[in-house]
Structures are given as C-alpha cells and as structure tokens.
Amino acid sequence: MQTASEIVTAAREPERAPESAPARVNVPDRVWSGGLLLLGFAVLAVAAVIVAELVRIGGPAISHTGLIAFVRNSTWDVTRDVFGALPFIYGTLVTSAVALVLALPISVGLALFLTEMAPPSVRSIVSFPISLLAGIPSVVYGLWGLFVLVPLLRRPVEPLLAKTLGFLPLFRGPPIGLGYLAAGIVLAIMILPTITSIAIEVLQTVPGTLREAALALGATRWEAIRVSVVPYARAGIMGATMLGLGRALGETMAVTMVIGNSPTIRSSLFSPGYSLPAVIANEFAEASGDLHTGALAALALLLFAVTVLLNIAARLLVRMSRRGPTRVAA
C-alpha cells in the first residue's frame, strides 16, 4: 500500500526533472533573453537621455533667468541676454486652442459619420484619404499654408470676419494673413486625422447592445448616439483630443511658416505671433552663444514636459475607455 504522500510525490516526479537539471539550460537562450532585456532597457535609456541632455543644455539658462521670470517675462532680447518665454507660450496656446476649436467638432462629426451612419463601404473608401492626410510632411502643409491659406485669409476671409465678428477683440486689426489664425487653421487640418482615427477606434468599442437598446426604445439614430454612444466614449474622445493637442503644441514647420514670427502678445487672431517650436526652429542653428542656446533648449524642455504630461493623461484616458464605461449614460 502506498501512502497518499507517496502517490503525490510519485506524480510530481516527472515535473521536477527539469528543475533538477539546471545545467541543461541553454546558454544561447540566456544570451537571447539578456539581449532582449537590454533592448527593452534601450527605450528607457532613450527617455532618460532626452531628459538629461535637455536639462544639461537648458539648465544654466533657466538658473540665469530664474524659472518664474523665464516663464512670465514677455521680453525676448537676445543681444541683452533677456529671455522671457511668455510670447512663445502665448502663441503656442492660442494657435493650439484655435486648432482644437476648429478640429474637434469636425473630427468627432467625421468619426461619428464613419462609425455610426455611413455604410461600411464608404468607411473603407474614406479611411484612405484620411490616413493620407496624416502622412503628408508638415513642411508641405506649411508650403500650402503660406501660398494658399495666407493669401485667402488676407483678402476675403479676415476682412469678412472683421466685418461680422469685429465686436470681439479676437477679430480686429489689419488683415495680414500671417498670424495666429493661419497657424491655428493649418494645425487644425494636421491634427484632424489624429483625433478622427483615435475617436473611431474608441467608438468601435461601444457595445452594439447599448445602441440597440436605445433604438428599441424608439430613439432616432441621433438620439441613440447622443444618449448611449457618446457618453460611453466620452473619456476616449477626451483622450483623443489631448493627443491631438499634444501634436498641435509641438508642431514646428507648418506653424513657423505661417505664424509671422513676431515675439509679441496680441489679442487679435489676425496679428503675427510666435510659438515655442517656431522660435527654436528659427534661432537654434544660429544661436549667438551658450546662454541663447540654453534658453532655446529650456523652451524645448518646457515643451517636452507639457507634451509628456498631456500624453500620459491622454493614454490613460484612452486605455480607461477601452476597458469599459467610465460613466453610465446621464
């Protein structure tokens, strides 16, 4: 008679065999594992190097000016070593805000149209030009903005806006063409595919049963979207918007070419301004000294910090919404 424990031991025996022979672990396997691990660490190393180099180059300029003064001062005078980043921060925020205001309704409408309303054949036809829009290099957008959009704004659009909406300080002043409005419109076109494609992805995760329940209760298609689809996808669409915003904040070439490159702060959207990436693009290669280079790198550090925080928040939101509903329909 075997005891219970003997039976268990016997049954376990074959499983133990590999454990008892650690010498047979393949050396190449170890090398392969180690190599992969190193490559994984490489990504972390890249991130660390980015932070370290920006701090190393930009740090001295920040400590020269003081962080608060650097961000709040609105004078950028390279010859006197006065570095105030406010005009660039302002320009970046204004152009990105214009871009979001224009792009958000269009891309959400487009995403809703493609996922909820249009037949699948339309979706597959349209998805190609939208991905094309995402693949066009930004310098080509800048070229188009400079020679097509800016003249268009100068002649009919800005005078028309001034005539109809001129009571708002946003739409006053001489119609130059180059300026915040031009940059905002080009940015809107550029972030549209980003927001649209992520919004489509998010909308596709909405369970069909939610939609069907609303429709079964007699809702029209739009009511079903408003009551059950949009609330479910809200967090994801917010995430998509933030990713679009991140792209708008860091976009360089197209903005540099149409914003007018004037380090001033104006309330009118028609006036020329400047943005963080644009000033780096224009001045970095010909920076007049270590302090100037440093101040530009400090601007890059600022841009880096803001876009990283935005991206972290956005990814978390998109992830959350993929996992399921965050809010029940109101």
């Binding site: 980015i50 693949g135 066009i136 310098v139 097509v148 029209t220 780096i280 841009l303």
Partner: protein
C-alpha cells in the same frame, strides 16, 4: 414633449452635419494635393533630380543633392534605429508581460508624442556639440530616436499576432527558445515588420524640424557622415520662406518629389502587408 417630426428633423440635421464634416475634412486635402501636383509639375525635369541648387537669377539647377541627402540621412537613421526599435518590440512581445515591460511600453507610447524638434535638440547635444560641427550623422541620430518608439510599438503588435500554436510546435520539437523566436516567430512576422519599417522610413523622410540644426543644409553633394548635408525637407523650407518667386516654384516641385517619395514608401508598405494577408 418634442413631436416625432421634430426629432426626425434633428436626426436628419445632425446626420447632414456629420456628412458635412467629411466634406470639410477633404477640402484641404484635395486643395493641397492639387496644388502640389499642378504647381510642382511644371518644374519637373531630368536635371531637377540630378543638379545641385542654382543661385538666384540663374536658370536651371535642381535638388539632386537634397534627394541624395535625405536618402543618406534616413539610411543612417535606419542603421541605428531599426535594430533598436524592432529589438525593443520583440522584447515587448516576448518578455513584455512584466512590470518592466509595462513601463517600457508606456514610455514608448509617451515618447512617440514628443515633438520632433525636441529630439533635434537632443541630437544636437549628443552629436553636434562633441563633434563641433553639423553632420549627416547628427541628423541620422535624431531621426533614429524618432523611429524607435513607433517601431517598437508596431513590432510588438505584429509579433503578438503570430499564433501560439506555431511557437508551441517548434518548442515541442525541442528547438531552443532563441531559435524558436528567431526562426519561427520572427520569420512569420517578418513581412509585417518590413511594412512597419517602411512606414517609419516614410515618416522619417518627411521630417524637417529635427534636421534644421543637426544635418543643417549643404549647397553641394556630400557623402561624408561628418559633414553638413542637404535634405529635401529643409530645402523646401528654405525655398518657401525665401523672397524669390522662382525659388517658390522650386519649393513646389521639391514638395512634389517629397510627396512621391513618402507616398511610394507608404504604398510599398501597404502592398507588402496586403500580400502577407493573402
């Protein structure tokens, strides 16, 4: 209580507005493509592909050195970026179900949102400052850093698509882990990874901002990695912001060439992945 008529009208209105969004989104695309083709086509000639830029006022000239420079810089970027990007992706797929893997994945996602001009400054600090000059190498490093996170994420997805049964069959035959990964799993995912690489190359070829102060520009042919090098994108920028109309025309023609380059790379990637599916 709204009547059914009003509700139906609202439904139709909103459907119309959403369809309008599609039209609005397509207007700039059509306008841009049309102008690049119509304004760029006039300047196309054989010498535009082979000659170096001509000074203002002189007829002829081309962007041959800039085309070559773009290919050269992107080539350097591939040599550095592809092994790291694909390798990190394989790590994420094969060993990535750990805390460390999650961290690497998240950081790769976040890094892909970092503005390219910031990466340009990092490459400046890493390469230009120690070498004391602008160079194709610095441009290549900048583009490589941009390629790594996107390549890592797409490679991971493609490797994860390989069915588990294939891996198990290989391991059951006594093939060691590393050979299974290389010869069975990676082999299977190779077509997809090539597509991912082509798309990353297409994206890198269109980058301007990180090249402005790394590879700078060059009016002449250059094949040395430690010298400033022209690129198509920087050349378009310089032509576009110049005050001369004849240079503006050259900007359009160069933009047409750039779009053809980027477009054919992306198309090649798409065709490759379509063949793989069959």
């Amino acid at each position: 209580m709204k009547t059914i008529g009003v509700r139906r009208a609202v439904n139709r209105l909103m459907t119309g507005l959403c369809a309008l969004a599609l039209a609005v989104a397509l207007v700039p695309l059509v306008s841009l493509l049309w102008l690049v083709i119509s304004r760029g086509f006039a300047g196309l000639s054989f010498s535009f592909f082979t000659a170096i830029p001509a000074p203002v006022g002189e007829a002829g000239g081309g962007v041959g050195n800039a085309i070559a420079g773009t290919l050269y810089i992107v080539g350097i970027a591939c040599l550095i970026g592809v092994p790291f990007g694909v390798g990190a992706g394989v790590y994420l797929a094969e060993r990535g179900d750990t805390r460390l893997g999650d961290a690497v994945r998240f950081i790769a996602e976040v890094l892909s949102g970092v503005p390219s001009i910031v990466i340009g400054i990092v490459a400046y600090a890493l390469v230009v400052i120690p070498m004391r000059r602008f160079s194709a190498l610095a441009g290549g490093v900048a583009l490589a850093v941009l390629m790594v996170p996107t390549l890592a994420r797409s490679t991971e997805e493609l490797v994860r698509l390989v069915p588990h049964s294939l891996r198990e069959a290989s391991l059951a035959l006594g093939v060691p882990q590393w050979r299974t990964s290389l010869r069975v799993v990676l082999r299977t995912a190779l077509g997809g990874i090539m597509t991912a690489i082509l798309l990353a190359v297409a994206r890198a070829s269109g980058e301007t901002a990180p090249l402005l102060f790394t590879s700078l520009n060059n009016q002449y042919w250059n094949w040395r990695a430690d010298q400033p090098t022209a690129s198509l994108t920087v050349q378009i920028f310089n032509y576009a912001v110049s005050p001369y109309t004849e240079w503006h025309d050259k900007a359009w023609t160069s933009a047409l060439i750039l779009l053809l380059l980027v477009g054919s790379l992306a198309l090649a990637g798409r065709l490759l992945s379509r063949r793989r599916v069959r």
